[in-house]
């Protein structure tokens, strides 16, 4: 089976500063992957390259085996959805209108169809934000707004979901809900690449962990055996250690 996404030797430079260099990995449908790394390690840049918001200065990104450059923009949007890290908080439309915008790549007509509306309702219910569908996005709290944007991404029905820190602003229960939702999406066949800083969240929900360090992929392991050899935790901090929980699971803790 060919990979949905293949990043081959991708690099990105801003002037003389190299941010990413020789990044290579592949993502198959149905995978939920945590993309991790310290601040400034290039996580958002990598997602931007895959979303087509920036063009790699080296290497190639293949979507469905075809170079991203050759894809028409609207066709990319029917396959890939991107949840940006920081959204403006003064968006003037209602939550429902924002989620309806997620249907743009699929809806040819001037007004959204009944099917579009049903998909929007489902997406909002799944993200636990249907109760404020009529509120203005600008009046929502940070966490509520984040769920509305996530619903818009789901309504887009992507096959590849790129999420730049989807758990930002979310309370602990909503963070768990969010990652449960991503796991559910993955089980339906959507590939999800989610940036997160929470190692335990990543280990619990994601099947695979990618760590960016020193401009490239430093670690690419399945979560199941990620802690067999825990030296990679040093990439985040020297103060991390592995403990065993009362239920026998392993847990990363710090002091």
């Amino acid at each position: 089976m060919t990979s949905l996404l293949e990043v081959q030797n991708a690099g990105w430079r801003a002037g003389s500063v190299s941010v990413l260099d020789g990044v290579t990995f592949a993502v198959r449908s149905g995978e939920l992957i945590a993309l991790m790394g310290r601040n400034g390690s290039g996580k958002s840049t990598l997602l931007d390259l895959i979303a087509g918001l920036r063009r790699p200065t080296d290497g190639t990104i293949f979507l469905d085996g075809r170079p991203l450059d050759e894809w028409p923009r609207p066709a990319v949007a029917r396959v890939v959805s991107h949840l940006p890290q920081m959204m403006r908080d003064n968006v003037a439309c209602s939550a429902e209108q924002l989620v309806l915008m997620g249907r743009y790549p699929h809806a040819e007509r001037w007004w959204e169809s009944e099917t579009d509306r049903e998909l929007v309702e489902q997406a909002m219910s799944r993200c636990d934000c249907r109760q404020f569908q009529h509120r203005l996005v600008s009046t929502l709290s940070g966490g509520e707004r984040q769920r509305v944007f996530l619903a818009a991404c789901l309504a887009q029905e992507p096959r590849l979901l790129l999420l730049d820190e989807p758990a930002t602003f979310l309370d602990i229960d909503q963070q768990l809900q969010c990652f449960s939702l991503l796991r559910e999406e993955a089980s339906r066949g959507t590939a999800c690449l989610a940036v997160t800083h929470d190692i335990n969240l990543a280990l619990t929900f994601c099947a695979r962990i990618l760590v960016l360090a020193d401009r490239g992929i430093a670690i690419d392991v399945p979560s199941a055996n990620a802690l067999d050899e825990p030296r990679w935790l040093q990439l985040f901090s020297t103060r991390l250690d592995v403990a065993v929980t009362p239920t026998g699971g392993r847990w990363v803790w710090y002091q």
């Binding site: 979303a51 609207p74 959805s81 991107h82 403006r88 968006v91 003037a92 790549p105 001037w110």
Partner: protein
């Protein structure tokens, strides 16, 4: 009622107001017109109606429509509530060209009004400069457009003041008068060309209403929902600017329509540009043509320029709107 039905109702209501304005406003003016005499095509009522009032009303309707639409476009595109059709410099370039023509005392260039000619030349010049400055390596951002546009705007405004200061007495008076913005009867040939341009650009802009909605959230949001942002920004900038600049060429820089009308419309219909844009287009026309009709009679036989009336009504109205919006 579904969103689509509600939108259609608003647009239809505004279209009725537009049509009513086109029929009734030409009857208003210092010389009373008798509908019966017009029906019988008796002079001078018939000539006053056709050659003075009707062409002037049509100019007001489509000029106000162009400004209302260009204002709502720039407010969405730049995500800036205070954006006007004049924000991005092209219209000020048009004013500069017109003022230069007035200062030189030119009347006709190649058989065309020198003011129109100067205005269009000035607009074209600024358009080229802003695109050149804002778009290094064929990539353009909202921020780049704003920066280049506002810079050109200030330079042109300063040059207008300079030319105004250096011009002779009678030219200086003509410039001051022109800068207020007013409507006048226009021959039907240029008027038809103008209306055709406005309608074509308006349809092209409104056709992309869903894309303006996306862009109003953010450029990255629009791009990852499948729009071509650079092309969209160039198209919006050029079409909005041409709408505003051609209007400035015919009427002078009439203020406040482009700022107030879109905000007024949004308080009633919401922020979806699929509704806001057609309504701002139609209501902008109604408002400008009505302000002009008011200016014809309020101090008759003297005329108050439409630009003065829109500013006198628009300024206080905007303050009222902002104070009541947060409540």
């Amino acid at each position: 009622m579904t969103d689509a039905a509600r939108a259609r109702a608003w647009i239809a209501g505004c279209a009725v107001a537009f049509a009513l304005a086109a029929v009734t406003l030409p009857l208003i003016g210092p010389a009373p017109l008798d509908p019966a005499r017009i029906w019988a095509r008796e002079e001078p009522d018939w000539s006053i109606l056709i050659h003075l009032r009707l062409s002037r009303t049509l100019l007001g309707l489509f000029g106000g429509a162009a400004l209302g639409l260009a204002g709502s476009l720039f407010q969405s595109m730049l995500r800036e509530a205070l954006a006007t059709p004049y924000t991005l410099g092209v219209s000020t370039g048009a004013s500069l060209g017109a003022v230069a023509a007035l200062a030189m005392g030119w009347h006709l260039v190649a058989g065309v009004s020198a003011v129109w000619f100067g205005a269009l030349a000035g607009a074209a010049l600024v358009l080229v400069i802003v695109v050149g400055v804002a778009a290094p390596n064929r990539n353009v951002s909202v921020f780049g457009l704003l920066l280049a546009g506002i810079a050109c705007n200030s330079v042109c405004a300063a040059l207008i003041l300079l030319i105004h200061g250096l011009a002779g007495m009678s030219e200086s008076f003509a410039i001051a008068r022109w800068l207020i913005g007013s409507l006048d009867a226009v021959d039907y040939l240029p008027l038809t060309i103008y209306i055709g341009t406005v309608v074509a650009l308006a349809l092209a802009i409104m056709h992309r209403a869903r894309q303006w909605n996306l862009l109003a959230v953010s450029e990255a949001w629009a791009a990852t929902r499948g729009t071509r942002v650079t092309r969209l920004l160039f198209g919006g900038y050029a079409s909005g600017s041409i709408l505003a600049a051609t209007t400035v060429a015919l009427t002078g820089p009439i203020g406040f329509i482009g700022l107030v009308v879109p905000h007024l419309v949004r308080t009633r219909v919401g922020v979806d540009d699929r509704v806001v844009m057609p309504c701002a287009f139609l209501m902008g026309g109604v408002l400008l043509a009505a302000c002009d009709a008011l200016g014809r009679v309020v101090l008759a036989p003297a005329e108050v320029p439409a630009g003065a009336i829109t500013a006198l009504i628009g300024g206080p109205y905007l303050v009222w709107l902002i104070r009541h919006r947060t409540a």
